[in-house]
């Protein structure tokens, strides 16, 4: 066989690409032809050196293979059973609330009491009320005499004839000068 043929077969053997029968035939041939055996061994040496050099240079690559960046969703972060339980509770609460509002009886106790306006006419004590307490004393008589001649303080904002907005503006204005 020619040298090229021998070398190719030697490479096939080294690469594991030659079947056993063919390999046995090759070995038998090489045993009978020392020159051919030498060619084969030289090529095998080159093959092994190349393999060794590349393996040495790329050895790090096989030790740093990580995990793929896709297909790695955080599994189990959504607890579907828990979500379902809470959804059932919320839905039940909504139904109960709707039913109670729709068909439940509303008596006065359940009604919402409207709040009286806090800014109404101030409860002013009348002079007659004060007389009962202070009449008869020197300074009490003086104070009562003064009060009888002084009209009670009346805020314009307390007037109900003006609109709510105007009442607010008047109130702010009057409060500013107090």
């Amino acid at each position: 066989m020619k040298r090229e043929r021998i070398e190719r077969l030697a490479i096939d053997v080294a690469a594991g690409e030659l079947n056993e029968d063919a390999e046995a035939l090759l070995n038998a041939y090489l045993a009978e032809h020392p020159k051919a055996k030498q060619w084969a061994e030289q090529m095998l040496t080159t093959y092994e050196k190349t393999q060794e050099a590349i393996a040495e240079k790329t050895s790090w690559a096989n030790t740093t293979a990580g995990t793929p960046f896709v297909g790695k969703k955080p599994t189990g972060w959504v607890k579907w059973r828990s979500v379902g339980r809470w959804a059932a509770v919320v839905t039940f609460s909504i139904i109960i609330g709707f039913a109670a509002g729709r068909w439940g009886t509303t008596d006065e106790a359940m009604g919402i009491a409207l709040m009286e306006p806090t800014r109404g006419p101030a409860p002013v004590k009348t002079v007659s009320d004060l007389k009962e307490k202070y009449a008869g004393t020197f300074w009490g008589d003086k104070m009562l005499a003064l009060l009888e001649h002084r009209p009670a303080q009346q805020y314009k904002a307390d007037l109900h004839s003006v609109s709510l907005w105007d009442r607010y503006r008047l109130y702010k204005k009057e409060k500013r000068y107090e």
Partner: protein
């Protein structure tokens, strides 16, 4: 639970990620670019996952993508180098011609000095560990062509590392 696609991709990744990295490293020679190239390769594989027609192995299909990714990278680098060389026209690029007494380095440099056709086969065989049929599938050539290229490449390496033919 992972879907069938994800499981298949994970399996492919598990079998090939180290070898893809090794194959890419043979082209670029540094780990930063290797990681970029490997990532780009798998992204392309993901995008084209459905385009695999079932002929040959999925692994050969992936290495065909790796080869194209590498070729694109080479083209980009050559363009960049061409721009750089305008300033350094007289200086040789790279340090591949330095003499190195270390045996592994010598062989490594001999591999790097191979032409593209031969180095592709050497890288796919020794770095990626592909069989002849898989190399043929990845390169789109016949198995006989793989054998002859491998043979020529090894002869070139032998010549370069100084083993005399007798």
């Amino acid at each position: 639970m992972t879907s069938g696609f994800e499981a298949k991709f994970e399996e492919l990744w598990g079998h090939t990620s180290g070898r893809i990295s090794a194959y890419m490293f043979c082209a670029c020679g540094n780990r930063a670019d290797t990681d970029d190239l490997a990532q780009e390769c798998y992204l392309r594989a993901l995008r084209g996952w459905g385009q695999f027609d079932g002929r040959g192995s999925r692994q050969a299909w992936l290495f065909a993508i790796a080869r194209r990714t590498r070729a694109d990278w080479f083209r980009l680098k050559q363009r960049e180098r061409a721009v750089v060389d305008l300033d350094n026209v007289s200086e040789p690029c790279g340090g591949l011609k330095k003499p190195n007494t270390d045996r592994i380095e010598t062989v490594w440099q001999a591999v790097n000095n191979l032409d593209d056709e031969q180095s592709e086969v050497i890288h796919l065989r020794f770095a990626a560990g592909l069989s002849y049929i898989e190399i043929a599938g990845a390169l789109g050539i016949a198995v006989g062509t793989v054998r002859s290229r491998l043979h020529r490449a090894l002869k070139t390496i032998r010549r370069q590392i100084g083993e005399t033919e007798q």
